[in-house]
């Protein structure tokens, strides 16, 4: 790749979401907007190596794409003269000829980006389609990159993206920022997609394609952009805080052999101080907005308790219990309950925790979850019920797929 082509690639990465978002609002079609933006990008690849990169490459791409949009519309109108289209053509011509006013431009770019993100994360799409389309149109990734990241074939992702764009067009999803009652549920869908992308990257194991862990970075970038676009939404800051703090541990969560290292055993000097600082700042932004913390902010607050402690023993466990109590009320789930029990056992002793864990034993969704008997074994051992503890460890070992983990469980059983 020549230097200019690599530079144009970088420009695309920086500008594509804004260009596609702006175009989508003009032509009212995400798929068409992407095609037009791609055409403009191809034009840049042809012209910029000779002319050099323009001073404002984003504006160049936008103007080029708008001209193409007008051309296309004219062609279509010649074929089928329809009434309503004329107004749109005038609107387009006006947009293309008018130099954008600096004062208006910031708001407009913000709305362009937001309406694009709300469209690519629209609930009419499946979650996997939402993730692929968001990475493609908002994150500037190629279908090949997305395919590598999600461990599926490029054809699968390409098809998913094409279908998603068609679904949006057929459902006539408007390119706009939802308001009123609509904002909260639509925002929840956006946050869900961002966190799904982040977790996909976070769950990558050593030796896998590096595109996978890079998803964490992509998700963080989308989250950070969203936090600036919707500064008044506490849960956006909550999610950003959660992702920043989780990402801060990425250098410590895998051992030399690629095996996972649990939170309590991690070398905290390998935690990224800059990301922790950013996470704590984002959490403060969420808290300052007032009101009760949402599920993301609560999880971030729990992560922050760990991030602030230099060692597990210095952790504010009573606060973690209180935060889990709040989380269990807001978003109850057996996994949250189990985590709450672990926090209770450290803050208040094994007896209180054992009661919580015993209540989970008949929970069907945890039936195959090896951490339940593993946690219960630890609590039983601490209250002196060793035989039962050994039985639980054996059960945990039978449930885990990980050989290293099974070895550890056997060691624990032997030491009882």
């Amino acid at each position: 790749m020549t230097d200019t082509v690599a530079a144009i690639d970088a420009v695309w990465r920086i500008e594509s979401a804004r260009v596609i978002g702006g175009l989508a609002r003009l032509v009212h079609d995400v798929g068409l907007a992407e095609d037009l933006a791609q055409d403009a990008f191809v034009a840049a690849l042809q012209q910029w190596p000779r002319s050099g990169i323009p001073d404002n490459p984003g504006a160049w791409l936008m103007a080029t794409a708008k001209h193409r949009a007008i051309d296309q519309l004219r062609h279509r109108q010649m074929a089928e003269r329809r009434h309503g289209q004329l107004g749109r053509e005038l609107e387009l011509e006006q947009m293309a000829s008018e130099p954008d006013l600096d004062a208006a431009i910031d708001d407009q770019i913000g709305d362009d980006l937001l309406s694009l993100l709300f469209a690519t994360c629209h609930p009419v799409l499946s979650t996997s389609a939402r993730a692929a389309l968001t990475l493609r149109l908002f994150g500037g990734l190629t279908t090949g990159e997305i395919a590598r990241a999600f461990l599926v074939s490029e054809a699968t992702i390409a098809q998913r993206v094409v279908r998603a764009k068609r679904t949006l067009a057929e459902a006539r999803v408007p390119l706009e920022v939802p308001s009123g009652d609509q904002l909260t549920p639509r925002l929840a869908s956006v946050l869900e997609v961002i966190y799904l992308i982040f977790n996909e990257g976070y769950s990558a194991t050593a030796g896998e394609d590096w595109m996978r862990p890079a998803l964490c970075e992509d998700a963080l970038r989308v989250g950070r952009i969203l936090a600036e676009l919707l500064p008044g939404e506490a849960e956006v800051h909550g999610l950003v805080a959660l992702m920043e703090i989780q990402a801060s541990r990425s250098g410590a969560r895998l051992g030399p052999g690629g095996e996972p290292v649990l939170l309590f055993e991690q070398d905290r000097s390998r935690w990224d101080r800059i990301l922790i600082h950013r996470g704590l700042t984002a959490l403060r932004r969420a808290e300052r907005l007032g009101g009760a913390l949402g599920p993301y902010a609560l999880q971030a607050a729990i992560a922050a308790c760990h991030a602030r402690a230099n060692a597990p023993i210095e952790t504010d466990w009573p606060r973690i219990v209180a935060l889990y109590d709040a989380l269990a009320q807001l978003a109850p789930s057996p996994v949250v309950e189990l985590n709450r029990a672990v926090a209770v056992s450290i803050a208040f002793g094994p007896d209180a925790a054992l009661e919580l864990v015993d209540a989970l034993r008949d929970e069907p969704s945890l039936a195959g979850y090896h951490l339940l008997p593993s946690v219960r074994a630890d609590l039983l051992a601490r209250v002196g019920r060793h035989d039962e503890a050994r039985a639980e460890l054996a059960r945990a070992a039978s449930l885990t797929q990980n050989a290293g983990e099974r070895r550890l469980l056997a060691q624990r059983a032997a030491s009882l």
């Binding site: 230097d3 690639d9 970088a10 990257g201 890079a214 970038r221 952009i225 990425s250 250098g251 800059i274």
Partner: protein, 125 residues
């Protein structure tokens, strides 16, 4: 150094100004604030700082195993650092793109340097 999951770059500003007129004009400050905001809104800025004039600083140099302290100010142009940005980018080219957009003055230099990540060392252990 191969592909990275996380690439960070430090953009080190070496301003073309003398120690005496270290403080930038109100216009320059406004332009720089807008630039910093652009980096923030794009989700790439991790941290930034501006540095006080060298008169407030010192240099600690080493020879024969001994540190020698020299108080500021220092006068060599192009040796002074005015501040830095730490950004996250997908490629060196992207970092260079961001640096190119800085509303810098004639003669200013921004050095773009990639930061070592944990993973750079993990392979050697």
């Amino acid at each position: 150094m191969g592909d990275h999951t996380l690439m960070r770059f430090m953009m080190i500003m070496k301003p073309n100004i003398s120690e005496e007129n270290w403080a930038p004009s109100a216009e320059a400050i406004a332009a720089m604030s807008a630039y910093n905001e652009e980096l923030t809104k794009a989700g790439v800025l991790l941290a930034l700082d501006g540095l006080q004039p060298t008169a407030m600083g010192a240099r600690v140099s080493f020879a024969s195993g001994q540190p020698t302290v020299t108080d500021g100010p220092f006068t060599e142009a192009q040796e002074m650092i005015g501040g830095y940005w730490l950004i996250q980018a997908k490629s060196r080219q992207e970092a260079v793109q961001w640096a190119s957009r800085c509303p810098a003055a004639d003669g200013d230099v921004i050095e773009v340097r990639q930061v070592y990540e944990m993973s750079d060392f993990a392979d050697e252990t």
